[in-house]
């Protein structure tokens, strides 16, 4: 059974993907062999303050143990301490950042107090560098993915943090992996003939975690990438669930 580190709950205004309830999302994931999933609220990505969407997410999944909520935090807002408080109430003690959607530079000195607080509260950090393929998304959404050089600068600035970087592609991963070791990544946006075999050449297996990017991506397609890999079964199992269990201490 899989542990999915990259799942979203809610609708997205730029696609026609149906909005699933938390119960239906859990059942959909289970049908694809996903036993546990780290879920964030899509509404929190575009909202002026992510707190209401985070609270709604926590309420929606309260009785669904398969869905592990992770609040989206916007450190550029003055209420970031209050935003962090909600993370401590969740089962994962983790937060998720969308720097490009929230209009800040991850490596800015302005956020040193924020990341210092994240570290002192022992919160796990998830950083989404990309939600959609920039080439053909809605024309008015001119947000770029978090650049590899910003990620490198951030990781060097915070050597004691070890974030899970979500949505990064293989070309950027090669660049970042040459410079930094204090991060893990998910599999959602890594695609090429032999993706996972290539990925294991770039990063140690223990730093590769399965992510389906449901419902933005077709879940079965993301799962198939792992199911069809010629990597040894033990390696596939580590990517599919073991590494995530260790990352989140579950």
């Amino acid at each position: 059974m899989l542990f999915d580190t990259n799942v979203h709950l809610g609708s997205w205004p730029f696609t026609l993907v149906p909005d699933l309830s938390a119960t239906r999302l859990a059942s959909h994931l289970r049908a694809h062999g996903i036993r546990r999933a780290v879920v964030s609220a899509t509404a929190a990505i575009l909202a002026p303050d992510p707190l209401p969407a985070n609270r709604a997410l926590l309420a929606a999944v309260r009785h669904i143990p398969a869905l592990l909520p992770v609040p989206v935090v916007n450190p550029a807002l003055a209420n970031w301490r209050e935003q962090l408080d909600i993370a401590e109430a969740g089962p994962l003690r983790a937060i998720k950042l969308f720097p490009n959607y929230h209009n800040y530079r991850l490596d800015s000195a302005r956020f040193d107090p924020f990341f210092s607080e994240v570290k002192s509260r022992r919160l796990r950090l998830l950083i989404s560098v990309r939600v959609e393929d920039e080439r053909h998304r809605y024309f008015a959404l001119r947000i770029k993915s978090v650049p590899a050089k910003t990620l490198i600068s951030f990781l060097r600035r915070n050597p004691l943090l070890h974030p899970l970087v979500l949505g990064i592609g293989l070309p950027d991963l090669r660049v970042v992996a040459k410079k930094c070791e204090n991060f893990s990544t998910d599999t959602s946006f890594v695609e090429w003939l032999g993706s996972l075999e290539d990925l294991t050449q770039v990063l140690p297996v223990r730093r590769i975690l399965f992510g389906s990017h449901t419902p933005f991506f077709v879940t079965r397609a993301s799962v198939a990438k792992l199911a069809a890999t010629p990597l040894p079964a033990r390696t596939a199992a580590a990517i599919g669930s073991g590494n995530a269990g260790r990352f989140f201490s579950l």
Binding site: E191, L193, V218
Partner: protein, 255 residues
Amino acid sequence: MRAIDIHTHPVFHHAGFTRPAVESFAAQARAQGVERMVSLGDVLAFGPLPTDAQIRHINNETARIMRWLPDTFIGFCALNPRLGERHVMGEMERCVGGLGFRGIKLEISNNARDACMKPVMRAAERWDVPLLQHTWSMTNIHMRHMHSDPEDTAALARRHPNVQVIMAHLTGCGYRGVLEAKGVDNLVVDTSGGFPENGILDYALEHLGADHIVYGSDLPIRETSVTLNRILGTPMSADERAKILYGNTRRILKL
């Protein structure tokens, strides 16, 4: 499940042109259920405007791959329409007439609406072969003088109703592209290009119908497991799935 992949590049940016590499490329697709693959050639190996000699090189590689694995690979003839009628007709005579290629592949030498397309379409009609046109939404990519938007490829198909046109890259064409392709009888859209985004294939099924969608992967930029399971993971009837994965392409290529 039987599948034909209408969109592959066994050689890509000069990589992969050895018999073991091509056999490995074919084996990984066969392991997933893909019986045959259309080889579109290393179409960007020399940039967007290949010369006549470079086009011949690309097509010679495709011909050799077809000879290595004749039961797997079907060749499409790469052309640069900007080189004019003599180039187009000469290469078509050589590749379709002589080497057994079964279609035409156009990349980004020009826009599909350009006048230089006329000899290409005449050639497609004369040899009765389909034409696969690289297509992507140009809303965010401002290179329409050389790339084709779905609007351009649909216009090309409308102007030439006797030629079967394949609009590449369903994901890159997006929802707007599906609507451009709607109602054009001689146009099908291939499912290649981009990540396995949810919703677009469902939308294409609703608006174009299964008869106007064909399976394509864009290997090696993509994975067969992902591209196939994107289709298997989208709700549709068994009949619709069989058409998309196999039946439509078999009909178009007269296999």
